[in-house]
């Protein structure tokens, strides 16, 4: 069991719970708006915050949130809103790359287990079971121990740590699709192995991966910033959320906003990803 599997299961259940909603729900609209905001911040942060995230202004250091500095300023007088906005791209990129690594590995392992017969399935399964004995961040920490801290290592570490979860979900999905009644019906109609694979099994297995990927990005952003926060990922003064939060920790008694707002963006990303993933799941099922 991984965070992701729990998330994916929850999404599926929540979908079953709300058959009534046809139109775009309030929660879905909110999630879409947040996603749009984050995307703009990631692609063109200057639209939101025209200033320079690294510009130092010692005279206005440690300002609490005000009209000029919505999120306040840090110890060097840098505007936190600007820094947080400009950090979106980097943080999201780490999350997306980590998800891509995890999902990619998961697809390879899960497909091997699901398609290549009993022996491979057994082996891959045992391997995954062993990986689950390194729960949560532990696998990521091990990767960092080996390759040393840094933003790139953290990305790879998070990707590797999430891969077993993806693999298990994909394997289960493959197996359930493969043994489903409509695949049997296609066999009875005389379709060949490859025809069935391309026409029925792959499309029905891949569609849920969009949901998984969306859910996964939220989780990856949180984990990657946790590593940065612990000093094992991106390091200050990079405008990465976890690193900013970590830097703000020193001033927690005097300038709470330094740690608070970068974290708020992490939470926003995670909640958006979760809601969006669930909405996507609902759409897929009802389409």
């Amino acid at each position: 069991m991984s965070d992701l599997e729990v998330q994916a299961d929850l999404g599926r259940q929540a979908r079953a719970r709300e058959p009534r909603r046809r139109r775009l729900g309030v929660a879905e609209a909110l999630a879409a708006a947040c996603a749009l905001f984050l995307l703009v911040a990631a692609v063109a942060p200057s639209v939101l915050a025209p200033g320079d995230p690294l510009a130092i202004d010692p005279l206005s250091a440690f300002q609490p949130p005000n009209l000029a500095h919505w999120f306040g300023t840090d110890e060097s007088g840098r505007d936190i809103f600007t820094r947080v906005s400009h950090g979106t791209g980097g943080s999201l990129m780490i999350g997306i790359l980590a998800t891509a690594i995890g999902l990619g590995l998961g697809i390879v392992l899960g497909t091997m287990a699901g398609m290549l017969g009993r022996v491979v399935d057994f082996t891959v399964n045992r391997f995954l079971e062993v990986l689950f004995a390194f729960p949560g961040l532990l696998l990521a920490l091990l990767v960092i121990l080996v390759f040393g801290p840094g933003a790139q290592t953290a990305t790879v570490a998070v990707g590797l740590a999430t891969a077993p979860g993806y693999a298990r979900i994909i394997r289960a999905q493959l197996i359930s699709v493969r043994s489903s009644a409509f695949v049997e019906a296609a066999t009875v109609l005389g379709r060949g192995r490859w025809q069935i694979l391309l026409r029925h099994i792959l499309p029905n297995t891949l569609a849920p991966l969009f949901v998984l990927g969306t859910l996964g990005i939220g989780q990856a952003v949180v984990w990657a910033s946790a590593l940065s926060y612990l000093g094992l990922g991106a390091a200050p003064p990079a405008a990465e959320w976890g690193a900013m939060l970590s830097a703000g920790r020193t001033y927690i008694t005097s300038a709470w906003w330094m740690a608070f707002f970068p974290g708020l963006f992490i939470v926003l990303t995670a909640v958006t990803a979760t809601s969006l993933g669930r909405a996507l799941e609902r759409r897929l099922r009802h389409a």
Partner: protein, 564 residues
């Protein structure tokens, strides 16, 4: 059976039929925000006297379950209810608060739901479930409740109460479960019982036993409102029948009269749709239509599908082995129908899977058109596949959820073209389209359905799409596994008629698998009866039904509910 001092004895003293125990006038129920608008049930009126059974019969969605539930105040949180009169046991129950209802539920009215497996809490022992109403409505202590529970269990035909009370729903058989559920409803001997589809999930033999139990409750003086979609089941114990359709009672009257001379079209259709005891070849859906005379019995042709000595063993989760199919052999002749009948767990579905080569037999062989099928490789089989069509019980799950009806049928048409002449001329979209429309026409579906997904179709429509798909390759054989068992009775009749028609027009050979003797009877020609993985009796339909030889077949036939 406990008699004497119970409330039943008191009730018996009151003169029956004139006094009604339940009196309903102009009942309307709905789920809209505003009471009175968009009713699901409207203008429903009836009475039930003590010791009388009124059957509320209708197809799914006709509002019969909602009616029953509103009589115990459980129509739902967002439901509204209106009536000019609603009396139970002489008390006006219109506008009771939930707390007031709670005091009556289980004491004045009992409710028995269908499917006892999910209607009894799987985590609680049945003893506790049965004792619930005693705990809630009486001051009996634990020991007295225990004694009463064992007594009630005895009464519903579950002796050895001492060990039973500790069992849970999952540990009981289907019939035992249903008995336990009834026991939970009658623990306090309520004068009125609402029973919703009590036998639907059960095999015929068990069904008969449950009906006997209900009969005995009736004799005991309990008034019963029996909800069912099945007129034949109802006719066994109902004194009066009310036929519901679209939220209204369309016809109501004494059972014998209503069945013998139905006045409404809806009732006539339902009666005609019951396949049992109909001569073969009779159209079920439109009664009295003699236009298509019974087809001349085809001359016994060659064997098109042959099973010999099929064996399939499964491993149970606990590691033990179970022979699902144990030496099954039969032959299907060209242009004929073979009915394979058996109760749940008899191995019918496993047999069907073996025939379609969806699983490999442990022993024995399936041959199609005289050529090896189960023993061949899938590649070799693929050339024979087009000759063998399949129709499934759950049509919906046999369609790829992403595909529309059009895509499903086009896939089938294209596939059929390919397999017929591998590597033939590239597809012609217009010709495929024409063929799809032709198939739809054969199963009497409008072309407007093409863009829909199977999920949005009705059960009957889905099954028709399934049949159209199976016909795409012009098969000679159709294997139908419980093709109508999840359909309403009139839809069931239409689908059976369609199969019949197709067979006559195209000389199809049909293997019809069903648990329903009525459906099997409608199948002409040959019948094979399955029990515990083996075929215990086989022969001409008329002969097996008329003079069954095997005791199991006899028991099976005796248990079938018949009209009148």
């Amino acid at each position: 059976m406990s008699q004497g001092t119970g409330p039943a004895a008191r009730r018996a003293a009151v003169t029956p039929p004139l006094v009604s125990l339940l009196r309903v006038r102009d009942l309307a129920v709905g789920f809209g925000a505003q009471p009175g608008t968009d009713p699901v049930v409207a203008g429903v009126s009836f009475d039930i006297a003590p010791g009388e059974c009124l059957a509320l019969v209708g197809e799914s969605g006709s509002g019969k379950s909602v009616t029953a539930r509103s009589l115990i105040g459980l129509a739902g949180n967002d439901a509204w209810l209106q009536a000019t009169e609603l009396e139970i046991n002489g008390d006006d129950v219109l506008g009771l608060t939930d707390a007031q209802w709670r005091r009556r539920r289980g004491r004045d009215v009992g409710l028995v739901l269908q499917d006892a497996l999910v209607s009894l809490d799987p985590l609680r022992p049945i003893g506790r479930e049965i004792a619930d109403s005693l705990r809630l409505h009486t001051t009996l202590d634990r020991a007295a409740r225990r004694a009463r529970v064992e007594e009630v269990l005895e009464r519903v035909g579950l002796p050895d109460g001492r060990t039973r009370v500790r069992q849970r729903a999952g540990e009981l058989s289907g019939g035992q479960r249903q008995r336990a559920l009834i026991a939970a409803a009658i623990a306090l001997d309520p004068p009125l019982l609402l029973i919703d589809e009590p036998t639907t999930a059960l095999d015929v033999t068990v069904q008969a036993q449950i009906l006997d139990l209900l009969e005995s409750l009736k004799r005991h003086g309990t008034a019963i409102l029996l909800i069912s979609h099945d007129l034949a089941v109802v006719s066994r114990i109902a004194d009066r029948i009310a036929v519901m359709s679209a939220g209204q009672i369309v016809e109501q009257g004494p059972a014998a009269r209503l069945l013998a001379s139905p006045r409404q079209e809806q009732t006539r259709r339902m009666i005609a749709a019951i396949p049992i005891d109909k001569p073969r070849g009779t159209r079920l859906a439109s009664p009295g239509d003699r236009a298509d005379a019974p087809a001349p019995a085809p001359a016994p042709g060659e064997v098109v599908l042959e099973a010999s000595g099929l064996v399939k063993t499964f491993r149970r989760p606990d590691g033990s082995e179970q022979r699902a199919v144990d030496g099954v052999s039969f032959r299907l002749l060209r242009g004929t129908t073979l009915g394979l009948v058996g109760e749940s767990g008899s191995g019918k579905t496993t047999t069907a899977r073996l025939l379609l080569a969806l699983s490999r037999p442990d022993a024995g062989e399936v041959r199609v058109l005289g050529r090896p099928f189960s023993a061949a490789t899938e590649r070799q089989r693929r050339r024979l596949r087009p000759e063998l069509g399949a129709i499934y019980q759950d049509a919906l799950s046999s369609f790829d959820p992403r595909l529309s009806v059009d895509a499903v049928l086009r896939d089938a048409v294209r596939g059929a073209r390919h397999t017929a002449r591998p590597g033939a001329a590239p597809g012609n979209a217009a010709r495929d389209r024409a063929r799809v429309l032709e198939l739809l026409d054969q199963v009497s579906l409008p072309a407007t359905l093409l863009s829909r997904r199977p999920l949005s179709l009705s059960g009957g429509q889905r099954q028709r799409v399934g049949i159209a798909r199976a016909l795409a390759s012009e098969p000679q054989i159709l294997v139908c596994d419980e093709p109508v068992s999840s359909l309403d009775v009139t839809v069931q009749a239409q689908v059976l008629d369609l199969l019949d028609e197709l067979q006559r027009e195209r000389g199809l050979s049909l293997l019809l698998i069903s648990h329903d003797l009525g459906v099997i009877r409608h199948a002409r020609d040959q019948v094979a009866v399955m029990l515990d993985g083996t075929i215990v009796e086989t022969g001409d339909t008329e002969q097996v039904f008329g003079a069954p030889r095997h005791p199991y077949t006899q028991a099976l036939l005796a248990a079938v509910p018949r009209l009148g």
